[in-house]
């Protein structure tokens, strides 16, 4: 029995969940003695009312689009990739190596090279958990969590012992050469009279993220592979009967997921820092979980949810700057969004279902 119309499932439930999360967040702000309405106004002003605010919002959103797509693709195969963080860390290493050691003539070619490197390194880091899940049945959630920690230790080692320029104190690589610097929105859209996106880190990687959305949509709904991934996620036994190779599907879905998560490091490493630093991922891999859940695993939904989280991140930074509310408020909001859109889905769904059932009975 389908009890909910499609639009309610796709639009109404996420909206109600979001509203609940927002309401609870407002209560939290109230509880620590601040005004939630003033806080919200400040967030909107700082992230959406100025072009430089948008520059930050879109920069963060770029990261979240990639990690959100990564989680979504894995979800379609009923795999929970909680290792986006580690995959992005290792991919950052790939981007750095490509930028530092290959003499690129122009940023556009360097971007292609970096995309390949980020995808390869990210996929590589997802490969072992995927292989272990497929061949040995080791739970992918646990292995990807472990790989996050291993990735952090690996990056620490490489930065401190190998990539750090002689005499430098902080664990970071040397600056990337000029030719690999990606054009920022400021350089792209400002004219002599109207400077736009001043000082903001948003760069061409954002368009790469949009392309990724389209490609993932094509992959999931318009290719044989996408069909295999979805049917495997719906029912492993049915997929098996249909001749879909389960092990192959697990590994391929995870490789794509890892590659997507890895590509966010193009934005942070090549686009913003222009060198490899220790904590460039900063939890974006985990935010991908919230983004995928809110976006209902659909690329367009992921895009919208990523923009929302971009707004929250930039708004949260503004709050920390101008009020006594710490940035961790964003972590709380993120937790509530994951809780309501993910785990407590039925809490919203069950009353709605009975409501719609009642309406239907009234009509007939």
């Amino acid at each position: 029995m389908r009890t909910l119309p499609h639009w309610a499932d796709v639009v109404l439930i996420p909206l109600i969940s979001l509203l609940l999360a927002g309401l609870l967040s407002a209560l939290v702000v109230l509880a620590i003695g601040e005004n939630p309405i003033a806080a919200f106004k400040l967030m909107v002003e700082g992230s959406l009312m100025r072009s430089s605010g948008w520059g930050y919002t879109l920069y963060y959103a770029t990261n979240f689009i990639f990690t959100g797509l990564a989680v979504a693709v894995a979800f379609h195969a009923r795999l929970f990739n909680i290792g986006g963080e580690g995959q992005a860390i290792v991919a950052g290493l790939g981007v750095a190596l490509v930028c530092l050691y290959i003499p690129w003539p122009h940023w556009s070619i360097a971007l292609i090279g970096a995309t390949v490197a980020a995808g390869l390194f990210g996929a590589l880091w997802a490969f072992i958990p995927a292989y272990l899940q497929a061949e040995r049945g080791s739970h992918i959630v646990i292995t990807t969590i472990m790989f996050n920690f291993i990735a952090a230790a690996l990056l620490n080692y490489v930065l401190v012992n190998l990539l750090r320029p002689a005499g430098a104190m902080d664990p970071a690589s040397g600056p990337f050469p000029e030719a690999t610097h990606l054009p920022t929105f400021q350089a792209l859209f400002s004219t002599a009279d109207t400077p736009l996106f001043r000082g903001a880190p948003a760069n061409v990687t954002f368009f790469l993220a949009l392309i990724a959305c389209v490609l993932v949509w094509l992959l999931i709904w318009r290719t044989k592979l996408g069909y295999e991934i979805r049917s495997f996620g719906q029912s492993e036994t049915a997929a098996n009967y249909a001749g879909i190779h389960p092990k192959r599907t697990i590994v391929i879905a995870m490789l794509i997921s890892g590659a997507l998560a890895g590509m966010m490091s193009i934005n942070t490493t090549m686009g913003e820092a222009e060198r490899l630093v220790l904590n460039s991922v900063e939890g974006a891999g985990f935010i991908g979980i919230a983004v995928a859940l809110m976006g209902r695993n659909h690329p367009f939904g992921v895009l919208l949810a990523a923009l929302l989280f971009g707004f929250l991140y930039q708004g949260g930074a503004e709050l920390a700057l101008w009020t006594d509310i710490p940035r961790e408020l964003i972590v709380v909001i993120q937790a509530l969004v994951i809780m309501f859109t993910g785990a407590l889905d039925n809490m919203v769904r069950m009353p709605l279902e009975s409501l719609f059932a009642m309406l239907r009975r009234g009509n007939s």
């Binding site: 859940l293 961790e328 709380v332 809780m339 407590l344 809490m347």
Partner: protein, 321 residues
């Protein structure tokens, strides 16, 4: 490295293994009842914060301990609500709980103490002292056994002894009581338990609450015994190491203790020796940090036999089906 060095490393291993063991046993109760819990980390973290904060305000570590347990159980109940009552995804609920804890502890700490997300240092009755067992000084000079008793067995925190006692207690509850039998059954085949007229929901909530209490002890130990106060993100992945230990130990209490001790030794060695030189070869400290995680992956890969989780783990139970 002489005998005393070894004893000192073992001593600090026991200290570091204790929070792992408590959290591991917490996960054991929950997962044996069929509720997967990757929110151990978050529960430890809130317990660490509230135990330190309330111990500081009240001046009593015992009041703090109770507050820590209460906070941890509160998160357990949220996990229960999501994964038992509303039959949601247990993994996602765990992730949410970890973030909720990471954010809320700093938010509240900043609001209460304004010290950048930490609590003031605990002193005197606000902190657990180490317990000196009887005859520790007298027996000190007995060869071999004397130093072991003096350095290793005596002089630990009270919660260390409690943790070690909870291991046989857990074994007894799981394998020798009716409650334990039902708990294990509900993790393997909830429908059978339901058919026998026993409430699956009630049993799973009990398991989740026990898990909360044990995580509360683990967190309180971190902030009021091992260290004197709460700092931001002080659990530092211990909840995940405990989860790893649980798999390593195949969801059994005694193996859980040995696994946590092994991981404790790894942490103690990494803490004490930093970069270890063997001849010309240097083992970097980052490798030691990553070793528990690497070992877990090796074990998950099936090199030490297969780890078979409780059958109904992660599956919400609904009567209709």
């Amino acid at each position: 490295m002489d005998f005393l060095d070894i004893l000192q490393v073992l001593d600090s291993s026991v200290r570091l293994a204790t929070p792992l063991l408590l959290a591991c046993l917490a996960g054991l109760f929950s997962e044996r009842a069929g509720v997967i819990d990757i929110g151990l980390e978050g529960k430890m973290l809130v317990a660490a914060f509230f135990s330190a904060a309330i111990a500081y305000m009240s001046g009593s570590v015992w009041v703090g301990l109770l507050a820590g347990i209460a906070a941890s159980v509160a998160l357990s109940l949220i996990h229960g609500l999501a994964s038992i009552t509303f039959r949601g995804n247990q993994l996602i609920s765990g992730v949410a709980i970890n973030f909720l804890a990471a954010g809320m502890t700093v938010l509240v700490a900043q609001h209460w103490f304004e010290q950048g997300g930490r609590t003031p240092s605990l002193t005197g009755a606000g902190r657990f002292e180490s317990v000196t067992l009887p005859l520790s000084e007298t027996l000190r000079n007995v060869p071999i056994l004397g130093p072991i008793y003096h350095e290793l067995i005596s002089g630990q925190f009270l919660l260390v002894y409690v943790a070690v006692l909870i291991v046989p207690l857990t074994w007894w509850v799981l394998y020798r009581t009716r409650f334990g039998l039902r708990l294990r059954a509900v993790g393997e085949n909830p429908a059978a338990v339901d058919t026998a007229g026993i409430s699956v929901t009630r049993l799973r909530y009990m398991a989740v609450i026990i898990c909360g209490v044990l995580c509360g002890l683990a967190g309180a130990y971190l902030a009021t015994a091992l260290q004197a106060g709460f700092v931001k993100d002080m659990t530092a992945g211990r909840g995940f190491i405990a989860l790893a230990a649980l798999i390593f130990a195949k969801w059994k209490p005694w193996p859980a203790m040995w696994t946590c001790l092994l991981f404790g030794v790894l942490q103690a060695v990494a803490l004490r020796y930093q970069n270890i030189e063997i001849g010309n070869f240097v083992i970097p400290v980052q490798f030691m940090d990553a070793l528990p995680y690497i070992l877990t992956v090796v074990i998950l890969a099936g090199l030490v036999g297969r780890a078979v989780p409780p059958l109904a783990g992660g599956e919400p139970y609904s009567k209709e089906r």
